[in-house]
Amino acid sequence: MKQVAITGGKGGTGKSTVAILLANKLIKKDKIVLLCDCDVECPNDYLLIGEKLKKPVRKVFAEFPKLNKNKCQKCGLCSKTCQSNAIFQAPGKYPVFIKDLCSACGACWAVCPYSAITPKKEEVGKIYLNKLKATTQSSKLFYLITGVAKPGLEETGPVVIQVKEFALDFARKIKADYLLFDTAAGIHCPVISALLGCDFAYAVTEPTPMGAYDLNLILDLCKKLKIPAKVIINQADLGDKKEIKKIARKHETRIVKEIPYSKEIVDAYSQGRLNKL
């Protein structure tokens, strides 16, 4: 099974669109495909294929610190260790955990010499599964897994990791040939979490200065993560591709596909039937 990320740095370049079109193409070639929407802060693949998120197949939990004041010696080690600035401690006082800033990494209870901090499980997201008939041939199936983070959650990387674990298990179960990960925009933690472990990535961009700038960032990130990345230009005929070509050359990669602006795609997108193309 090949694991492929569809990413791109800039938002709105058409990552989700390309992910679904790629899934369509592979399904038409008789491949078993599982698409996993890793943009857990605002997943939209299900909307683009006219589906609804009904009952979650699994809940996602994260562990947050809880203080046992009987054991705490106010040593301050937890506060010093926290890389998220989520633990405040005035001298001689008990530490205060600021949940808004906590990334649930677990470092505080790992370092506490008095075992005064214990992890407390909390729901941080949900996983949904949609199974629908693919394209025109009714016998084939389009599988979509969607991760949704709890609104307002600060650090969504751990949610992405758990969604991916679930997707990987499910992909093995259905003997998938391809597992496609549609990532969020950006190059931050949830994107990194989505990219990790992928065999290669498609960086979807657009022929604009912003598209080129963010493409450079995402290709840098892919290089750091040792994931080979190829470039796809969406709406390729609407701007100047010179900068994109320059960035691709700089990163010694290729532009493997140029998708022209197409009313057909826009219509299918807005009508939630992108999977029918």
């Binding site: 998220s84 600035n85 405040f88 401690q89 005035a90 001298p91 006082k93 600021i98 600060e154």
Partner: protein, 140 residues
């Protein structure tokens, strides 16, 4: 007098009071006698988030019970209130002026948080100068 922390834009008492708490460039620590004890560069400027909490941690670690600053975010505001630290607004003054005003009880106490990321992105743009030449022409 209490030990005071002033958020400032530079490292001496002549610098202006920073309007942002968590992401100010410097913390000026003024001792009980009103003397500048030290200037601490704020490493929290670079923090992705939690700069306010890191700054609040500096306040209590330095033993300051009074802070002269501008906008304070909700997280920092909450923990500083809990710690009994008094916050005063010194925006628009130099650190020295703010100190004098504090001694004369003329500073307004900050009683609400500025809201999330209230101060993020604030800064000083380049100054625009106007210069003119003066002088007489050379007499030939």
């Amino acid at each position: 007098m209490a030990k005071i922390l002033i958020t400032s834009n530079d490292s001496d008492l002549n610098s202006s009071v920073s309007a942002v708490f968590g992401r100010c460039p410097y913390f000026l620590i003024v001792d009980e006698k009103g003397k500048l004890e030290k200037a601490i560069p704020n490493t929290g400027v670079q923090a992705v988030r939690g700069a306010g909490i890191a700054a609040a941690q500096t306040v209590v670690s330095q033993g300051a019970t009074v802070v002269i600053t501008g906008n304070v975010g909700p997280n920092a505001f909450a923990v500083l209130q809990q710690s009994g630290v008094k916050l005063y607004n010194g925006v628009g003054m130099t650190a020295k002026e703010a100190l004098e005003s504090f001694k004369e009880n003329k500073l307004t106490e900050i009683t609400t948080s500025a809201g999330r990321f209230g101060g993020r992105g604030a800064g000083q743009g380049p100054g625009r100068g106007m210069g003119g030449g003066m002088g007489g022409g050379r007499r030939v």
